[in-house]
Structure formats: C-alpha cells, structure tokens
Symmetry: C2
Amino acid sequence: MMMVRLNMKLALAALCAVALLLMLYWAHCTDDRHKPSAAAPAAERFVAIECSINGEYSVACRRDADQLYLPFSFIKKYFEVYGKLTTVNGVERFEWSHSYSKVYHPKKTYDPRGTFTTFENYNVEVRDRVKCISGVEGVPVSTQWDPKGFFYPTQIAQFGLAHYSKNITEPEPRVKILEDGDKISQNWIISKDAVMSREFDPELKMKVLSFATTDHASSQVWLKLDIAQDFVLTMDLLLKPNSSMTVVLQNKDKKETVYLHYVFNNQLISALDDHIFYGVGEESAWRRVTRDLIVDMQKGWQLLDRPKRKSPRNKFKISSIILRGSGSLGSAQLATSAHTAHFYAAARWLVRSQRPNGGWPVPARRRVAPHVPDLTPGWHSAMSQGHGISVLARAHYRSGDAAFLRAARRALRVLRLPSGAGGVRAVFMDKHVWYEEYPTTPPLFVLNGFIYTLLGLYDLHAIAGDRDAKHMFDDGMASLKALLPLFDTGSGSFYDLRHFTLGVSPNIARWDYHATHVNQLYLLAGLDPDPILLSTAKRWENYMSGKRAAHN
Amino acid sequence: MMMVRLNMKLALAALCAVALLLMLYWAHCTDDRHKPSAAAPAAERFVAIECSINGEYSVACRRDADQLYLPFSFIKKYFEVYGKLTTVNGVERFEWSHSYSKVYHPKKTYDPRGTFTTFENYNVEVRDRVKCISGVEGVPVSTQWDPKGFFYPTQIAQFGLAHYSKNITEPEPRVKILEDGDKISQNWIISKDAVMSREFDPELKMKVLSFATTDHASSQVWLKLDIAQDFVLTMDLLLKPNSSMTVVLQNKDKKETVYLHYVFNNQLISALDDHIFYGVGEESAWRRVTRDLIVDMQKGWQLLDRPKRKSPRNKFKISSIILRGSGSLGSAQLATSAHTAHFYAAARWLVRSQRPNGGWPVPARRRVAPHVPDLTPGWHSAMSQGHGISVLARAHYRSGDAAFLRAARRALRVLRLPSGAGGVRAVFMDKHVWYEEYPTTPPLFVLNGFIYTLLGLYDLHAIAGDRDAKHMFDDGMASLKALLPLFDTGSGSFYDLRHFTLGVSPNIARWDYHATHVNQLYLLAGLDPDPILLSTAKRWENYMSGKRAAHN
C-alpha cells in the first residue's frame, strides 16, 4: 500500500512537472509570435522571389499567396519617387511622395506692391552656391559657374525680393540698441593703451564713439555682451586703414568661439580655424553695415568645407564686439531681422551697377547645353533684367526715389535687343516673342525665367504706369499662352524647349522647378482670365501626385 | 534510507521528464521556422505597415528590418506597368515589363517592292473592330465608329499590305485541289432529285461542274472531305438566285458542327446557332471566291457574342462542301494561305471605289476630340490615301497594270487639298506641311498616320518615279524632322499635338502606338541620314524599358 502511495505521488509529481513545462512552452511559443509592441500586427510567411526587370537585371522581391511585393529601394530609383518612415501616435507608417516642393494657391490677386510671388519663403543666403554676402556691397556673391565668385544680378535681385517679401509677412523685428553714440553703452572696456571718446560727427549729425588702439594684440576697445536671440547687426561704422570690428560668438554647449572680423580691405571672405574675415572696403567713410552674423559664420564654415550644422541660431550667443585700429562707431543694434536694409542694399547695387545700356551683365562664362556656344562673360539674362525691374519698381514705390524708376525703365532696353546682338530677345518660329534667361543661339526658351521677366514687366506697369512695359507684357503673355502646351510632358513639365531647338534629349524640369511653374501659372491665372493658365496649373499640380495625362 | 532513495528516484524521474520535454520543445520551435520545401528559401519575418500615398489613400505594405515592400498590384495601377509570374526550370520568377509591343530593328533598307514596314506581323482580320470580310468585295468591313459596319479604306489597305507582306515572308502555301471542273473530283454525292454535270464554259475556257437541286431540304450536291490543315478556300463559283455554297466544319474534340453558307444575296453577315451566312452578291456571274474559313467562322461567333477561342485551326476539320440551288463550280482548292488573292482584292477594291477626285472617303462619322467638330461622313484621311497608294504602287509593280498606277497618282490630289476644303493638308504655324490622318479644324497633327502617308509617297516615287510624290515626300520629311521633338514626352511619345492645337490635356501614345512610332523612325532612318531620326528612335526605344530623359 505504501509503495502504491509512493508511486502515485511520483506519478502526480511527474504529471505536475509535465503540465508546468507544457504551460511554459505554450506561453513561450505563442508569446514569441505576438511580442507585444505598440505597433506590430502578426508577422506572416513571405518567400523570396527574383524579379527580372525588363529582362535587363534582377531585383530581390517577396511574395505571399496573394501578392508580389517589390522593394521600395528599387521603385524609388526606377521611378525617382520619394518616401520615408514616420511614426504617428506610436504607429509606424510609410509616407510615399511622388514629388517634392510645395505649391501655393494664392489667397489674393498678385499685387506688385506686395510680396514678390512666394519669395517670403525663399532663403537666398543659405544656398550653397552663395559664397557669402559681400562686406562691401551688402549683396550675395555667387559661385554657381565660377568658384572665385561673381555678382549674379538674378541672385542679387532674388535676395532683395525675398527680404522685401519677408518684411511684409514677418512680424516687426525685436531690436536691442547696443550703442547710440552718446549715452548707450556705458559698458565699453578700454584696454590700457587704447583710447575712446565721444564727439559730435557733422556728417551723421549725431554724437559718435571714436576709438584708437595700438599695434599690441591686446590693445582693444571692446563691449562685453551676452545676447542669444538676435543676430542681425546694424552698425554705422567708419574704419581707417589697418582697422577692424570683430563680433565674437560663442557656442553655448561646446567650448567653441567664432570670430567674425570686418576689416578694412577689399578681400571678399577668408577663414582660418575660428577666424572668419570679411572685407568692408578701403574707404575711410561712414558705412552702414548690416550683417546677419549667423549667415556670416556659416559661410565661413562653408569656405572651410566644414559640415553644415542645424540651428546655429539656437546654439550661439554674441559675447562681445571688439574694435581695433582706429575709427568711429555711430549707432549699433542687434535685431531679429533687417529685411528693409537688405532690400535696399540690393536695389542700390542694381542702380550702381547698371550699365548705360540698362543691362546688368553676368561676368561668368556659362555653358548652357552641349553643341551650343558658351555664353561669354558680359552676357545678359532676361531673368536678371526682369527681377531687377521687380526690385527697382518696389524700391521706387517705397521710397519715391526717381532714380529707381529710371533704372527700371532703362532695363527694358536689353529685353528688346535680339539675343545675337547682346540682348535677350528671341522669337519662336517667327511668331512668338520670348525673353531668354540664357540668350543662346539657337534659343532655349526657358520657361520659369521668361515668366519672371513678365512679372517684372507687370510690376513696372502696375507701379509706374509704364506703357512700354505693358505692351511687352501683353506680347509676352500672348506667347506664353500659345506655347505653354509645348512645355507639357504629360506627367511633368519641360524646363526649356532645347529638344525642339537643338534636337537633343528633352530637359525635364525637376520637381522644384515644376512647382515653380505651377506657382507662376496660378499667379498669372489671377491676372489673366484665359482658361489655359488655370487648367494647365491644375493639371500640372496633379502631375505632382502622380496623376498623369491619359493615353489614347 | 529508503525514503531518501525514493525521493532521489522521484527527483531523477522528474528531471528526465523535464529534459525530455525541453528537448521536444526545442525541436518543435526550431523546426517550425525552417520547414523544408522544394523551392522555398527561408521564410522571413515580415510585418504589415500602412503606406500613405501622397497623403491621399493608403496601401497595405510590408517591411522587414532593412526594406519596405510595396504590392505590385499598387505599382501596376499607379505607373501602368506590367508583370507576370513565370516558372523557369522549376523556379518561380516574376517578369516586370515597363511596356508592351515589339520594336523591330530593320535588317535592310526599306524597299517598297518588298514588305510594307513590318506588316508581315499584322493580322488585320482578327481585330475585334473588323466585323468580317465582305463576301461581295473580299475586303474587311469595319465597325470602329459605326456598329453597322462600313468600308474603312485605311483598314482595307492594311489588309492588303499585310497579305502582300506575308506573301513575301511566308513559305509557299500547301495546296489541295478539290475540284478542277473536269476529272477531280469524282467524289461528289448527288442526292436523288438533284443533278450534276460537267460542261465546257466559254468564259472560263475550261470544263466546269454545273449543279441543280430542288427545294427539298435534302436536295443537294455535296463533296465529302476530311481536311484538317488548310483552311483558305479558293473557288470559281457562279450562283443563280436562291442558291448557296456551304462549307461544313467539325470540331475534332467536341460534337460541334459549324456551317458557313455563302449565299446569293447582298447581306454582309448573319448568324444563328451553328449557321453563319455570308452574302456573295446578286450577280449570276463567275466570281473567284477566296475565303479564310476559320476567320469566317470566328467572325460569325463574334457576331453571336460568343467568347473567342484559342487555336481553332488545330481543333476543326472541313468535313464537306454542299451546293444547293443552281450554279456552277469551276475550280476549288484549299490552301494554307492565299495572300496574293487577298492583296489583289484590296487593290481592286481601291481602284473600284476611288472617287473622281482621287479620294477614298470614309463613310462613318468620327468624333475625334471634345470641342472639335465631328468629321462628317465623306471625310478623307491622309492615312487612307497614303496606305492606298502603297497598295496600288505594289499592285502596279507586281502586275504591270497601269490602272493601279493611275489610281495611285490620282490619290495624291486629296493630299494637296487643305483640311477645310475636303482635303487633308494642314500647316504647322504657317511653315510645316502635315498630312492629317483626321483632318479636323483646328488640326491635330497625328504622328503615325502622317508617317504612313510619307511612306505611300515614297513607295510611289520609288516604284514609278513619280516626281510629285517625291516633292511631297521631301516636304513632309522636312516637317517631320523639324516637329518630331514636339512629340517627345521625355518618357514616351504623344499620339498627336492636340494639347498644342486645342489647349487640352496631352494625348499620350499608348505603348503599341509608341512602338509603331519607333519602328517607323528606324525605317525612315534607313532612308534619310539626318541624325534626328535615329537618335529619336533610340531614345524612344529606351523609354519602353523605363529609361526616361534626364531632368535638370
């Protein structure tokens, strides 16, 4: 009996052990396939399958019982579409985009006194092809077709128009007065062998701060600061030879200091380690210096080939301003922006630089297309002319200064000259005038530059009632409406008509240019009721989400 | 001691049980993930993930650690590409095709005496829009724009050119003589009240078989056959009113019999159950009847809306020919083909039907595009004229008969008349002549029809030395070379230029038309050394495997 009882206990114990292990096993195996995690549904059985692409190469695909699946890495490359993984409410998702770039549906009719199209969204200075903002001229320098850098009137005008537009759309800047020549600031520190004084300046008609330091490296007049928000410096400055004004920036997190030196020379920009130098010219005269210090710092890094950094405006603070050599300082302030100053810098550069024939020649050599003669330095661009007119018309409107208006009118002349005669005017099949962004022979018929030119003509007529500009605008619009369909690919748009004029492979507009076309057409549709403008804008907008035109 | 020993045994037994269960568990879990199967590599773990398409709708995708996968069903619809599963050497594979339709690289220069482009590959009769081959005229009847059916000169000419081309490329047909009027065949069965005799016919200048039956359904003169390979019947037949010649076909597998009745009336085609009727006219005169019996059967089924069947040529045999009423039979034979007969049927129809102004008017109303006036019955088509010329030039070449040449020359006149004046001639921007396949106002500039017209002009000049044709060809080639780029979409081609002339959404050529463009350009490149023809052909061919033009 006792043996029986022992055997039964043994059996019972073994059974319990078995049951326990079976339960553990079941819990493990089921748990493994249903690992709880925020997002995951059941994993399913997929097998690999080779996919032959047009009989040319293979791609590793997957299939289940119902479907074949292709890797996005292949689709992305084959069709040039875009996609990214995102997490929404803890759930992972993939977002497919047929294109990139934004389309703006104008809320009101275009007004030349207002923003220039959607340029409040443009940031010209940060483009890689902008070498820096010239310390002498206050306008951008381009390296687009010449690494040494040159003044590209189109770029300068876009810079001006972007700042004009931001001046309208952005809030008033926050301003901190650093120095008023008189009482502010009391915080300058004068090193032992340096001198500083305040006197009335007859030219500025106000008191100014004058300084003189010795050759010693430590001889300086400097202002200690701790400003972390507003990085646009405006200063009335007079420098004598061998003098400089330096702004010291410090990285709040790291132990990093950057020195922006504004020096008495004509060197555009140079940089070494943490020192970045901008020449402000060799004239001992008062100049109003307006500098976006963060841009100046980033362009120094760009020159040194350092990687771009995100949000330096959040990471740096201005720790001091140092004066060396001798000179004077009228007023100085830091602000969140100084759009009006930048705008007028562009407008005045345009007036200053305009040739007697009204043109702003481009000093860089430009190879536009194979088998087409280069545009040699001195070529004109309809887009430069048109954008220039848009800046000057607005400058005239804002200031009332007739010099701006005269320059704008003078700029029309180049638009009337044929491309072969130093101008920019082409004609499509003896019938439709076109203003050439790149006045090649044979012509190219670039679309976006032509439309920008038309907007310049519109601006001049709307603001100043210029009748020549109106006629040229009307002729140009007739051309545009007739030829617009030739830019339609059925799934996008052409950048130009080189396939027609040169017999080469078509030049499709990449998506940011295509979006520009759409935006331009929506704007023009508000000015001209011809249905071709709006219907084309809508169809071209649909192309951006993959809705191609129908086939037969 | 005994208790200790018992406990140890218990413990040992429990441990063994645990070990055993653990081994089973491990074997199960690892085995589950690596189930062996014939073709399958390891199934991997994939999870479902939602993919948002342009923010508009979602598609169920899959992902693993490295890749996102999209279902082909989505890609196929979004991009209109093609794909199918295949098995190669027991391994399953997926074959992706960017397009469909074949491109032919010509092995030799186009010779108008030879095949017409690649029409040896065309099968006009089997197209759904061909209602049937007319029993009276021997040429196809179209239902493309009129369900009643009409003679479409373009279709008739293509029928002729396809048979001309097949006559060149296919082997000599195998021929079985059924009846020679004299000695063959001895196998006619004459029912009781019917009569049959053989007499010399002065018109045919040979002995012919004459027959007469009564009204009784069973009264017939018939020939028992068992022929399974050659289905093109050629017969010299004379019918009197209320008479018919019937071919009986039987399905080898099923118990199915089809009766093709060729009857003395003018009804194009009718069908009821297994009986299909073709009118051969109401003239009691000798006619040479050439019928592809399989095509005649299939068109009867098409009329009855029966589903198409694969390979009826393999499934049917000819079991008898039945003569009813009264008439005569000269010769009769069955052959694999009778291309020359079909070709001349087309050529003679063209001569017969040509109007005094040289045109072959299209009797159907045609709506070509929205907001464009319909082409009303009687319109001409450059493609009809051009294809007609191609047929007639070859007919003249083969036969020496001047009537064909006169008709071909006369056909040029319509090409010179403007579209608005009953002709087909348009001009692009006052500069480039175009021969319109659909002569609308405003013009359409259809590409493939224009090129076919040019080939007709080329054929006439090459075969007959026609100088007008040569000039018109040269002018057309100048137009083509100038305007070809306007048909380039950067990833395909346009069917026409309606987006330019009508301001509507572009009409992209579907792949079979695009392939036609490519084939036409390769042919023309062999006739004209201008590089635009070959470079365009190559680029457009590359589009068919997804190699788009570059963007800027």
